[in-house]
């Protein structure tokens, strides 16, 4: 399965719904999307990963890059993920300390700290 991306606005948050596989081939598409959003002034991002089937280190690198971009504007990047096989990759890499990870989009959108 290829990568699918949809964005919507909820209040001052922009929700990016990602589906399919984020890997060395498809990650550039996600990177472009995140860059475009930040360039257009969206600094509070919620990346919904519930429909992601596969994530590799290239995808992690793109998410870290997105986090750095929004932080440069005092923004935030929150993840929504409950899938154990995806969460495992964040744990192995220690990135659970870097990203706030939420169980639902509603929880991520209403989070303030």
């Amino acid at each position: 399965m290829d990568l699918s991306l949809e964005t919507r606005t909820e209040g001052d948050r922009t929700v990016v719904v990602v589906g399919g596989e984020i890997d060395v081939y498809t990650a550039p598409k996600l990177r472009e999307q995140l860059i475009d959003l930040v360039s257009s002034g969206a600094y509070h991002l919620v990346v919904d990963m519930e429909s992601v089937d596969f994530l590799d280190s290239t995808g992690l690198g793109v998410l870290v890059g997105g986090l750095k971009r929004v932080r440069a504007h005092e923004g935030s990047l929150r993840l929504v993920c409950t899938q154990e096989r995806i969460l495992k990759i964040f744990r192995i890499t220690g990135l659970t300390k870097v990203f706030p990870i939420h169980a639902t989009v509603d929880e991520a959108v209403s989070a303030t700290d």
Partner: protein, 143 residues
């Protein structure tokens, strides 16, 4: 003798094919279902690293992946031809995020492999790097 050998031009699009073959061959030789995701991710990372180092070095030869089941183990080796000195160190990932750009970072993928796989061996030299990963097989299926 490998059960299956795959060679592919060093293009990111082919890494997915390598992952699919890894999970298919793994299941075929009796890999426990709980390890299939791990194998798929680890093989994908090793192949993405090989593609990355070959592309950055302008080396167009095929990346070679060999899958075999010997002595109750499923062994996957990923060979690149990027020569000695292609980046193989495994950085501390949280430290790496401090100055990580989105650019391809070969050491990052290997760090994921070493975090995932208990039995992994990385040998670097001429003509390139070999990443060898092994997993125990729960049952033996004739191949």
């Amino acid at each position: 003798m490998p059960t299956v050998e795959l060679s592919f031009t060093p293009l990111p699009a082919h890494v997915r094919t390598a992952r699919l073959i890894a999970s298919t061959v793994g299941r075929r030789v009796g890999l426990d279902e709980s390890l299939v995701d791990e194998v798929r991710l680890a093989v994908g990372e090793a192949c993405a690293r090989a593609v990355g180092v070959q592309r950055s070095g302008g080396q167009a030869d095929d990346v070679v992946v060999a899958f075999s089941d010997d002595d109750g183990m499923f062994t996957v080796t990923v060979h690149d031809w990027a020569g000695a000195g292609s980046e193989v160190e495994m950085p501390d990932l949280v430290e790496a995020t401090e100055d990580l750009d989105e650019a391809f970072h070969p050491g990052f993928g290997l760090a994921v492999v070493s975090g995932l796989v208990d039995d992994v061996e990385v040998t670097s030299g001429e003509p390139g790097t070999v990443v060898r990963m092994r997993w125990p097989l729960s049952s033996s299926v004739s191949s």
